[in-house]
Symmetry: C2
Subunit: 407 residues, 2 copies
Amino acid sequence: MALIVQKFGGTSVGSVERIRAVADKASVAHRTGAQVVVVVSAMSGETDRLIALAKNITPRPNPRELDVLLATGEQVTIALLCMALEASGQRARSYTGAQVHILTDSAHNKARILDINGQRVRQDLDTGMIVVVAGFQGVDKKGNITTLGRGGSDTTAVALAAALKADECQIFTDVDGVYTTDPRIVPEARRLDRLTYEEMLEMASLGAKVLQIRSVEFASKYNVPLRVLSSFAEGGGTLIAPEDASMEQPLLSGITVNRDEAKLTVLGVPDKPGIAAHILGPIADANIEVDMIIQNVGADGTTDFTFTVHRNDYDRALESLEKVARDLAARGVEGDNKIVKISVVGVGMRSHAGIASKMFRALAEEGINIRMISTSEIKISVVVDEKYLELGVRTLHSAFSLEKSST
Amino acid sequence: MALIVQKFGGTSVGSVERIRAVADKASVAHRTGAQVVVVVSAMSGETDRLIALAKNITPRPNPRELDVLLATGEQVTIALLCMALEASGQRARSYTGAQVHILTDSAHNKARILDINGQRVRQDLDTGMIVVVAGFQGVDKKGNITTLGRGGSDTTAVALAAALKADECQIFTDVDGVYTTDPRIVPEARRLDRLTYEEMLEMASLGAKVLQIRSVEFASKYNVPLRVLSSFAEGGGTLIAPEDASMEQPLLSGITVNRDEAKLTVLGVPDKPGIAAHILGPIADANIEVDMIIQNVGADGTTDFTFTVHRNDYDRALESLEKVARDLAARGVEGDNKIVKISVVGVGMRSHAGIASKMFRALAEEGINIRMISTSEIKISVVVDEKYLELGVRTLHSAFSLEKSST
């Protein structure tokens, strides 16, 4: 018998009507013969309401007590969902994080799951019940209530699926799956039937904010098949699962865009050991995160050192660099915050060397100048002028025929 | 070191400001050197809000899930109160009913406390913390969340006080203690410094709705000294404690009034065994509760049988009696729903026979006709016409000099 874990976020349980709709979805799955566990978040707005209550008491609430407070949000949802299930003739039982022994460390407000004892859930499932579990919360080994931080309900669902050895963990969201690229840029963008964890991680971190990165990592670690589905529309969604060796992989899965970057270059720095640390040290000290870093082979004993930061940090980074440049007797500092990063992602490129050249050629044919290049095993990213964003993405989407199904 | 349990109801924690005031009261007690445990209810309105949510889902919510839902009410309060305590520099820790192992039976929505393990609370108290416990809720032996029913927070407080062998259980309410009678009727009514459990039970069941009867029974069973205090005013309140043999007891503690009764009489029924059951059987079958029952010695082989019911049940009871009267060939049925019951209560009357005659004489001197009389060990109740309510209570209050302190 199949065992499915379904997760519904705050918007999906945001009203009595929507809770009833979630009950219907769970019942439908149950009637197909599957065992069903449902993980839910607090109703949308509830967590913010509770935080506002706490902030009315004190600007810096005690973290342990904030968890006690916030955990009530999901507790309300699990009770209401079970009532809706029972009212529709379906047997159901709710569990808080503590009741189902979602053991976490004691890092209040951002706890990590250590272990889940699935025995009690399994017993209920075996009697034909739908089991409803509060997401986002757990309990430490002393019995204190903890929360996993925002988005933690995804992690709860994946962890439960792993503990129960579920056949699938279905994450219901407000989109109906993962697309080859942003459909607002490329109307021909196609919903992907399947992705690997690695691809999803690259897609997520590059801006396709469908799933929490942590939950994808968790799913990957325990080989839990994840499916992204819409709460509001029908459809099979996108399955995120281990690479299937028997299938021919498409070369590329998708194209992502990051509009939030800015680029900085220190020109003509002495090409000797320790330079990178010297330049990036003050940036790190200022708590500015660096994304791409490029240093070309130098000529005449000097080199140009380029990196990207979040656009919000651009001014602070520039200021910091000007001081560094003087110290290093560099030729100068250049910056540009009108750039975007476009990346192509796909496990297929591991076995196919031609992707990069095809990508660069396609962009060149449209007269798009590439300002920076960075690669990983399953991703190639280029930085181009902001004005080329739409043209660049459309060109690549078409060049790699992503609008056509690979199966 | 003294150990005090303080209980604050929904009105006392109904807003952020009031929660801060509760934190102050607990801190003041703590600064006197006492160990302090605080039991709180849900913020006023919160339980009704949650019930409305449930009723929106289904008219008859699953009882187990209703408890999961309602238990969030107090959980919010304990977290906010601990935040307020911590923000004021006081160390504090909250516990849900489940966390502090308030073990109950599995009767959802009206569970009874079976046991409390006070160990964890005691450990925290010994480190100087104020411990805050959610009232009204517990956990059954399978780990299911239960609630004790409305007013259950009083019971939680008393049970905790018993388990911790507390020196006093302080119930903060919107009145500043228990009075000799209703001050709206007798402006000279005096706050009592001290009452026995038995007196409080008679006072409570007769209409002085300051404390839940169940919590007084519980306190009596475990000899927990209870103190009724105002959340909003200063003052020592009323102590409810075991009878103090070393003190001279006042004859009477108070006078209570019940306006909700109606009186019914079956006239001229045959005076033979089984008559009472024959008359009251149909009343019980109709789920009508009977309060006082009087049957006088009969003359000429017949007797009159009189009893009182709640006024809301008067019409139904009358209808049922008319049928019974025909079956029994009784002379007829009489009823009166314009009556009140006035009772004098006091453990002192055990050792003083003159109370009843003094009571009846005082009423007679004012021309108040007594329609029924009923007595218990520490109480004498009379039924009089409704129009004599104020006059009767004032006459008795003055006759027994209740306006004067006995100490």
